[in-house]
Symmetry: C2
Subunit: 235 residues, 2 copies
């Protein structure tokens, strides 16, 4: 008996749901019933139910019982991975080109996004992430100097901005939006696009405990890049 008892009970429950034997919103055995059935203590049976509830596969309510969660309530999740890791994962040759690394006076929209005063100095970088020496994504990033004052001295061909910023300011929050845009002429040049092509744009804002750290715009050609997501009953 190498697999723990609580894991066996989890497996038993998941199998019943996967096979369709237990349908949505149907009641599952109570803690005491499972404890008897598997000859374990109530706390062990409880652990199986609790962890599956935390995973969103079951729902519980005190006094009533435990039920199979409705699939509808499962929100579908998409991962936004580090692009360097993604390229390496598919055995591509990853490289990075630094196009711009400067300090500028923030225009109003940038200043607002970074939570600093308009026209104050912020850092700006534009990098191109390449796979097999072909542009895959352009990263334009605005950084709050108060939280990362040596940003301009970094060598981003070896350390990504995100990695550097994480080490300088402990990140506490991030927000993303994904949209489809048409690249402007400058972006076309950066991405080496000869004809106009729709692009995926991810806007990422990262917070630290003391304020907004940076504001990044990640643009990739729709023909070369896509986001993947996966949702499954398992474990």
């Amino acid at each position: 008996m190498t697999t723990p008892k609580f894991a066996q009970i989890k497996q038993f429950i998941v199998d019943n749901i996967r096979s369709g034997a237990w349908l949505e919103n149907q009641r599952v055995p109570s803690e005491n019933e499972l404890a008897d059935q598997f000859s374990v203590s109530r706390m062990t049976a409880r652990r199986a139910l609790s962890e599956l509830t935390e995973a969103g596969i079951l729902t519980r309510s005190q006094g009533l019982g435990t039920f199979v969660a409705s699939f509808k309530s499962q929100s579908s999740l998409l991962e936004i991975k580090n692009i360097a890791d993604e390229v390496k994962a598919r055995n591509g040759n990853y490289s990075c080109t630094v196009l711009v690394l400067e300090s500028i006076n923030a225009l109003a929209p940038i200043a607002i996004a970074l939570g600093v005063e308009a026209d104050s100095v912020v850092y700006r970088s534009v990098l191109v992430h390449n796979e097999n020496d072909q542009p895959l994504q352009v990263e334009e990033r605005f950084v709050n100097p108060a939280l990362a004052d040596s940003y301009l001295q970094q060598d981003f061909t070896h350390l990504t901005p995100h990695e550097y910023l994480s080490s300088v300011a402990p990140l506490t929050e991030a927000r993303h939006t994904v949209e489809a845009i048409m690249p402007n002429a400058e972006m076309c040049q950066w991405l080496n696009l000869y004809h106009e092509e729709p692009c995926l744009q991810v806007i990422r804002r990262t917070w630290s405990s003391t304020g907004i750290v940076s504001f990044a715009r990640l643009v990739s050609p729709g023909s070369k890049y896509r986001l993947g997501g996966h949702l499954t009953f398992k474990k």
Copy 2:
């Protein structure tokens, strides 16, 4: 003392991380230390650490200790919500128009995506989801008749296809991809677009225990629709 003890300990730990007092990869107090510090049993302290580990805020390793998880390892997640719910959530007027509801002979790519033989009969629906009577998203869906034989008899102006399919075949898995595309003429007409505009396209395939249930293509204008994601240390 209304809030449970384990929740208080979780709060204490999260506060220390948010404030930057405990940095990435730094060791946090052990179960026994927390138990002494808060005058609780080891099992209660353990619960706080376990739940924060499950949430991805801490990492643990047997024999070594518990550590603040590195932000880098946190995968950023995007939610794909039900569009009807989203519209209603912002107090919009949601409506749905059924453009196509038919059975067709599947071309090769559709047949492969659905896991059926080429040229076999499958169901196809094209719906337009409207916000305040303006097209927001086109949903083109191909359905495996073996798993939902009364699909064509449904009234999708009141029940979404996803809701109907969930009730008929217990869903066990879903996969998504998001990309930026340029709509063709037919799609432009459906979306009421006068000039060409980049669109966000979500492809969703859903599995049941007995096979692939359906294959959906969700297309929204880039100017009207975006996906939002959010990642935070909390609870």
